[in-house]
Symmetry: C2
Amino acid sequence: MDSERSLLLTDLYQLTMLQGYFARGMHDTAVFELFVRKLRPGRNFLVAAGIEPLVEFLEQARFSADEIDWLRASGRFSVEFLDWLADWRFTGDVEAMPEGTIFFPNEPVVRITAPLPQAQLIESRLINLLNFQTLIASKAVRSVLVAPGKTLVDFGLRRAHGAEAGVLAARSAWLTGFSGTATVLAGQRYGIPLYGTMAHSYIQAHDDEMEAFRDFARAQPANVVLLIDTYDTEAAAHKVVALAKELEPEGIRIQGVRIDSGDLGELARRVRRILDEGGLQRTIVFASGDLDEYRVRELLAQGAPIDGFGIGTKLDTSADVPYLDCAYKLEEYAGKPRRKRSAGKATWPGRKQVWRRYDAQGRMAGDVVGLAHEAQEGEPLLVPVMRGGRRLDTLAGLRAAREHAAAQLSTLPQPLRALEDAPPYPVEISGELQALAARLDAEAH
Amino acid sequence: MDSERSLLLTDLYQLTMLQGYFARGMHDTAVFELFVRKLRPGRNFLVAAGIEPLVEFLEQARFSADEIDWLRASGRFSVEFLDWLADWRFTGDVEAMPEGTIFFPNEPVVRITAPLPQAQLIESRLINLLNFQTLIASKAVRSVLVAPGKTLVDFGLRRAHGAEAGVLAARSAWLTGFSGTATVLAGQRYGIPLYGTMAHSYIQAHDDEMEAFRDFARAQPANVVLLIDTYDTEAAAHKVVALAKELEPEGIRIQGVRIDSGDLGELARRVRRILDEGGLQRTIVFASGDLDEYRVRELLAQGAPIDGFGIGTKLDTSADVPYLDCAYKLEEYAGKPRRKRSAGKATWPGRKQVWRRYDAQGRMAGDVVGLAHEAQEGEPLLVPVMRGGRRLDTLAGLRAAREHAAAQLSTLPQPLRALEDAPPYPVEISGELQALAARLDAEAH
């Protein structure tokens, strides 16, 4: 079975714990929440992503007969337990921040309310899906912030960590404001706009660069972007000017050129001049090669005449911060709030909500994390997305999530828009929640 | 279709280039090679991994009818081209370093020899598979080097970048000498030994820690490893001693304890003492929580009495170095060697081989990269693994690859075994290859 859908994509301990719960009949309602413990250096906020793919996973999650047979053959599990496991379904409730929501440490992003063996078994895949997609959304948005009005394209598939990472990175990037991706499967699966032209191998496979340009333009006359750095970038730009004149009678226009190596800022200036002097003012300059938000900001600050950027490896791996300090923790079981007290990893107990206040200009002014039943002021960020194992209409698709992300960014306070660490955004723990934690600690001693 | 098998898991430019090749009838034989440009800081060598999964991908790669329909609906491609694409198969040859082989920059790891449109289309997925698996093997081996004789377990699924990354990271880690993984699907798919016990939520779902331990031990009497840091680690260790006495008459033995937070070295010492004084000398201490090879080395240097380590996030994301500077480049087309000369990204042309020499003690003494037809001394590292699109028996499975990796490590010179940068291992470019590159450059001017 496809690894993206398999319930065996889990940690062994989920299954051994489930056998323990099964043996003791521990099927009461559990509440787990996913949150991030702290921001890593260079991140001032996070962008929630991956909720709809998670819900799709939960809706179809079940063990195949082959998988049950394989578990039986392992000798680790009882016959009764495996019979029960064969009927395992997720029938719980899910509340979540809508994809594209800006959030901060200690704020629950997703809350699962389900019989304990359901909420437990999904842990590994839930974190696996949400950690990665939120990580990439929170990385991609930084390029969006530094390059307003520019065309930003995800180029990262080849160095993304496997198949699913390539597709979901494209999704997270588009969600936060990228223009599109080069990854065809992301286009097919999610309707994300596709970008792409040619590689160096295309030029090299021809005996002559000009011949390669000409062939390519005639083969895809609607989408002519030529890669000009295989040999000598400026010489290639002159060839582009000559080719444009040659192809004009055929009605073919050269839409852009791409530069993928060397001093991108300086080369872009020289190429722009050659194109302009050759009458190709409308031909855009696209840059790629080892880019990230820092390099894009630097190029734009230098005034480099670059219209679009292909951002690849460092985006799809979130290279400077390749994981989140996130956790999925039991906060309540059988009606009782629970608290983990491990050194440095203590949790806020109970089922929680996050409320956000805004200032007079509509900017985010502060969040409160409290117990879900509290009557706090502000906008509650967690909304129901699944009831009894079925998705709700609150999940409105990727395009709506992209619009939500853009609206969220418009409310982001100026200091948090920087690439460098800003003073922390205020996130308050409600008095009632603090009192609950203190009471649980006191009861334990 | 499953994204791991889909040919749409590619960059759009592969398809636009293919349409260009198709339009011009460019179906001559191309030779592409994958290599790493340079080592990133803190890496003295790399371990080849991912070859067999690549070959499995190539054997089954084709477009489904649905995918062709979707491409047709995109309006980007001609009817003739799509008809031809529907019959696309990989019928080429592959040479590769056996999985587990140690290698260095500028050495081809995989060579593809196939009609140009075949060798081109597979580029994105080939890099996607090999970059990640080699990355993780080259990370995992560092823990193997610093912790000989210890049990090392991959715990990284939840923060691996998606489904495939979780499974393939487990595979790469086991290949290089890890004892096993927590990821069940990796056990099912590859026969990798599975490890795992309980999470904090299991303890928290019970009203009492001792009751949780007791239930767990009775539910899985063959595999009792108890997590003791949920509340107070030393108090929990005393409970383990008491429980061991209680369960002895039932024939249940407590095999180990796991510590997942706090000062792992100091806690391990205290817990070891409590267990020993309680007569549990055979109960092992297992540590986890934010570990990597540096932290493992440090704990062992302090003499921490830890028998096994669960290494997760930093392994499965290769957190300090989350990608390789690898490239897949056209080296020959239609019988002519090709050379890319882009600034900082020039390639060595022609179809190549790597030969390795050993010293009298059997240690690696130096490599030569030359043209495949040269008669160099030493062991040739690239071997045929696929002919005419069919796998060869040289692919002997993951267990054989693991043995090969162990044998390779035994030949690794001492300085390269360090976690810090060592003087570079000698990799020479043959005179004939240098002459070819010079000739191509001269012809281009």
